[in-house]
Amino acid sequence: MSSGARWAVALVLLGGSIVLGVVSDDQQILTIAIQVFMLSALASSWNILGGFAGQISLGHAVFFGLGALVTREMWLGGSALALAILTAVVATTVVAAVIGVPLLRFRDIYFAIGTLAVGVAVFLTVGNIRPGISSLPVDALREYTFTGPYFLTLGVLVVTVIVSVLLKNSKLGLGMMAVRDDEEAAGASGVGPLRHKLSAFVISAALAALAGATFAYFSVSYYPNFPFSVVWTFEAITVVFIGGLGTIVGPIVGSAFFVILRDTLPSNIQEFQVVLFGVLFILVVLLLPGGLVEGGQRLLGSLTRSQAGRAPDAKTGETKEGKEL
């Protein structure tokens, strides 16, 4: 797709989402949409670190959780929502910068396991410190509507996507990708690996905190350690890979696929649904190594090419075509 067409599609989708939020009061549809937006935002934020800079973090939920924790505490404590979210993002950014330096010295699997260890340690600690459930007060429950969380989550997703697009086309983003593709070579050619990795880590964390803030605003009741659960990290990674690692739309496509598949099957056949999802997931990983986006593009590409009278290239799977989007 040309760049213009892509923007047109994006604007149409955004416009459609806004219209949906204004006209619909169907609780179920809005809930699913909010979940898709939230997971998309979280997955996109992970994608900056994992997809652009190539650092597979298994502790991403720490930042999602921090964003949620600070936002919720301040907001329910009486602060304005905007102030609460801002504080949450700033606080998370600081934390990420501080723990990022030692963590990013680890590489590959060591980084993955190290971040996992941090994630689990923080999860357990928050559980110890904040054992009680966090529920909205009765008055807030009475007045609760889905419209507010819907637009906040949509807004956060838009911000995340814009940051991703800008980053991808910036010198900083190119540096991240250089580090991803070959850290030594990047270092030798003057791209500071640690500086770029740390930038990716911090930007990714700040955006995750923003996604976490939407969780805090949307959720009626949850245990404060839940947003810190490794489940969020796994879901984010899962949808990024299903959609397409390192792409802009991949995390969104993956999230929509994941949430809709999960939520449209009734929960009373849940085991079946999990089995189905697990098998589908394995199939995607094995058969579409570039994710749904690349798969779709290959399909699209082979269609247009065969229309043009050329045989589809069986090897397109190995090219980086999907990464362009």
Binding site: I109, F234, V285
Partner: protein
């Protein structure tokens, strides 16, 4: 107080033996195939159920069923390799890790859900006539089944070491782990080595699960917790180092136990994770791994 510390230390070391046993299979698969199987804990869970059902349906003592559990899980591992992991080993090393992580994550979902379906989600545990017996050494009580679990972990480690160092197959495994292309050139059937190594890895998970089914409890969701411990032990020991696994496991168990005494039970695992991160910072190659270039 001394008694508390001594007893806790002993318990920690014995639990650590289990961590080591769980990590052994994970390390084998990672070292040889370069696949990171996060469904290792689910294989352990299946082993636990195999042992539980052998005991509750046919009254087979869990120690007697150990070889059977090993064989059953070995075969299951071979099947998993043929159906899934074989395709992962076609990628280069970096993509192998990434793809195996993802595929085994899918496997986690599938195996857990199927276990719930067929075994129900109830906690199961085996209680034998000797479950509560213990040997008293001074002020310390050593529960018989914990000790037995530890002994099994030691035997498994020694047997694996011996196999790797003193058999033809072991040499082939080591050569493959070192550099599979060179191994293939010198006539090693790499595919065969992969399959058997993965089978052994699954079998070891099964044995660990069997020990857990009567030292602890099995339920469909126990897998990830044990996988996490095993991952930490593997990294702590140093990637590719088989012999340090047991010691790293004991280190983790001991750290947790002492953390519980000195910091409080609620922070047992947190402290152990922090210690792990600190150790990693100073020795990224692990206790026994060779320094990386």
């Amino acid at each position: 107080m001394t008694q508390l510390i001594l007893q806790s230390a002993v318990s920690g070391l014995l639990v650590g033996g289990m961590y080591g046993l769980v990590a052994l299979g994970l390390a084998l698969a990672f070292g040889v195939l370069k696949v990171l199987n996060v469904a290792h804990g689910e294989l352990l869970m299946l082993g636990g159920y195999a042992s539980f059902f052998a005991f509750s349906l046919w009254g087979v003592d869990p120690f007697l069923s150990l070889p059977i559990v090993f064989v059953v899980l070995f075969l299951f591992g071979v099947l998993l390799y043929q159906v899934l992991f074989k395709y992962v080993t076609r990628f280069d090393i970096e993509n192998r890790i990434k793809n195996s992580l993802l595929i085994s994550f899918g496997l986690v979902l599938v195996l857990q859900a199927l276990a719930v379906r067929f075994f129900t989600a109830d906690e199961r545990t085996i209680s034998t006539s000797y479950s509560s017996e213990a040997i008293t050494v001074g002020v310390v009580r050593i529960p018989v089944i914990r000790l037995a679990g530890f002994v099994v972990a030691v035997i498994a480690t020694v047997a694996l070491e011996w196999m790797l160092n003193h058999t033809r197959f072991g040499r082939a495994v080591r050569a493959t782990a070192e550099d599979w292309t060179r191994a293939a050139l010198t006539g090693v059937d790499v595919k065969w080595v992969y399959m058997i190594a993965f089978g052994i890895s699954a079998g070891l998970a099964g044995i660990a699960g069997a020990m857990i089914s009567f030292g602890y409890a099995v339920s469909p969701s126990i897998g990830l917790g044990w996988t996490l411990k095993a991952l930490i032990v593997v990294v702590l020991a140093g990637l590719g180092s088989m012999r340090g696994i047991l010691i790293a496991g004991m280190f983790l168990g001991l750290t947790e136990a002492l953390a519980a005494v000195w910091v409080g039970g609620a922070y047992r695992e947190v402290v152990a994770l922090v210690v792990f991160l600190i150790v990693m910072s100073f020795r990224p190659q692990g206790f026994f791994g060779r320094a990386r270039v």
